[in-house]
């Protein structure tokens, strides 16, 4: 569904991605793990069009039988329109917009009022708290609720590929469990997921496959179960358990 071929990305003078290739298959949950500064967020920002790659291709195939499109030169707002939704680092909630507006802005490109109302209802079913707090300002929600809002807002765009940047950041363990269970549920309903996680234990437990990013390069990849057994991964990312 998503095939990244040898991309090189600079952020100012810094060479952040030094020839990364990775693949996400339709229906998968793929995790990208790695230390701070390894280039995980840059990777996601490049996919969604917020950063431009110096070279390399990002082939995206929205429909199983449709054509593959190179989105590496496309603007962020056009990429969203292809069903590729990026939930940014730090959640990116609009703190001065109400919860309802945050959700509606997620479906900004959808002008069909009826479909919008249906999607809104669906999201409020998945996250009842958002329906209850619909008139509150986004910024007044707790961290966990903001994460729900960020995921809910992403769902409003009817994503086919959902990209999440550190969804567990700053959340308590129960909320994280809850969140990952919901992500799995969303995945079984046909949404492919690519996620970046610091919480490697959680990521490897839920993902089908994972990539380890170190200093702008993929150093390891494979099925999550195998990576979780790998000596180096265990030492570096799983606290040597």
């Amino acid at each position: 569904m998503l095939e990244i071929r040898d991309i090189h990305v600079y952020r100012g003078q810094t060479y952040v991605l030094q020839g990364v290739s990775l693949e996400v298959g339709r229906g998968e949950i793929v995790a990208l793990i790695g230390a701070n500064g390894a280039g995980k967020t840059s990777m996601l920002r490049t996919i969604s069009g917020l950063l431009r790659a110096k070279s390399g291709q990002i082939m995206y195939q929205p429909d199983a039988n449709g054509e593959k499109i190179d989105i590496s030169r496309m603007s962020a707002e056009r990429i969203v329109n292809l069903g590729l939704c990026h939930c940014p680092e730090g959640r990116g909630i609009f703190s001065q917009l109400s919860v309802r507006e945050n959700l509606l802005v997620g479906a900004y490109l959808n002008k069909d009022k009826q479909a919008l109302a249906d999607d809104y209802k669906n999201v409020c079913e998945i996250f009842p708290i958002l329906g209850e707090r619909s008139d509150q300002a986004g910024g007044s929600l707790s961290g966990g609720e903001q994460e729900m809002l960020a995921v809910g807002r992403a769902l409003m765009s009817r994503p086919r590929l959902l990209i999440l940047d550190e969804p567990s950041l700053g959340l308590g363990p129960i909320i994280v469990d809850n969140l990952f269970a919901i992500l799995r549920q969303i995945n079984t309903q046909g949404v492919t997921i690519l996620l970046v996680e610091q919480n490697a234990v959680m990521a490897l437990e839920y993902a089908d496959r994972a990539y380890v990013l170190e200093n702008g390069r993929v150093t390891l990849s494979g099925p999550s179960r195998e990576l979780a057994e790998d000596e180096n991964v265990r030492r570096a990312y799983l606290g040597g358990l």
Partner: protein, 298 residues
């Protein structure tokens, strides 16, 4: 000094304040969305005033048509300024945009002098708009009431637009976080352009009002209302539209009451008083009356 006199001064202050508010709203919208202090905003007022002069007095077009054309002209000038001067430096440090806006302002003033000469021109509205009415001891011209009423209508319209429409939502989202707004599929270039167009249309129509109120216009006339509206926007809390409206009225009233209630010898200090008011309010409320405490605000 009787109550009628004071009531008269208050009415005058409200009329002046509504014009400040018109310009301040645009200032605030533009600042809110790209953190740009647009010093060329006042010169759009001048362009609006000269458009009115040309259409009304030279061509003799009917009033509603003039208002419509002036709104459109203001919007076009805003779009032109945004595309030509500010879009190419998007992402540059805040101070770069600020300096660029000064450059645009000086250019517009000098283009005005070049093509229109620096000679002030009389700006005479037809008699039916100049007719003076007296209500409860307060006198005002039809045009003064027109200024107040149309300003109030435009203010309500703008508040509704920003809070209730899809474009307004996009504008608020972009103002808060440009990158995330793009991830939502918002075309930020179009949204920023729309913000400039709307803000500048209001400045253009303020030019029509300014000319109607003071009866004289020249190519440098935009500087002082621009600066004072900036003060109004800051007093109200820059970035906030209700704040800009409130700031405009506070400033207009304060200025007129200062001149009207103190002995005439002080009236030459009216501009100094305006800035004194600014300093005083910012000492007590550093973010303005309705401003929010956001870290990267100027």
């Amino acid at each position: 000094m009787n109550t009628e006199y004071i009531a008269q001064q208050i009415v005058n202050g409200l009329i002046l304040g509504s014009m400040y508010a018109m310009v301040a709203m645009g200032f605030s919208m533009i600042y809110g969305i790209i953190r740009l202090i647009n010093f060329a905003h006042g010169d759009v007022v001048m362009i609006g005033a000269f458009c009115t002069l040309g259409l009304f007095q030279v061509l003799g077009a009917p009033f509603p048509l003039v208002a419509l054309v002036v709104l459109t002209a203001g919007a076009l000038v805003g779009i032109l300024i945004e595309k030509g001067a500010f879009r190419p430096m998007r992402g540059a440090p805040q101070v770069t945009g600020f300096i660029a806006s000064l450059a645009v302002s000086i250019m517009l003033q000098n283009l005005g002098i070049l093509f229109l000469t620096a000679q002030p021109r009389n700006f005479a509205f037809p008699d039916y708009l100049q007719k003076v009415h007296h209500v409860a001891g307060v006198s005002f011209r039809v045009v003064d009431m027109g200024i107040m009423v149309s300003a109030l209508i435009l203010m309500c319209g703008l508040v509704l637009l920003v809070n209730k429409t899809r474009l307004g939502m996009a504008m608020r989202a972009t103002a808060e976080n440009i990158d995330v707004a793009r991830l939502m599929g918002i075309n930020i270039n179009r949204t920023i352009m729309a913000t400039f167009a709307i803000g500048s249309a209001l400045a253009g129509i303020a030019g029509l009002m300014w000319g109607g109120k003071f009866g004289q216009i020249d190519p440098l006339m935009g500087f002082v209302p621009g600066l004072k509206s900036f003060v109004a926007a800051v007093i109200g809390g820059v970035g906030s539209i209700p704040g800009a409206i409130l700031g405009g009225f506070v400033l207009g009233l304060a200025e007129v009451l200062f001149v009207g209630l103190l002995p005439p010898i002080y009236s030459a200090f009216r501009d100094a008083f305006v800035f004194f008011t600014l300093i005083l309010i910012l000492l007590i409320l550093p973010n303005g009356i309705l401003g929010r405490n956001l870290e990267d605000r100027a």
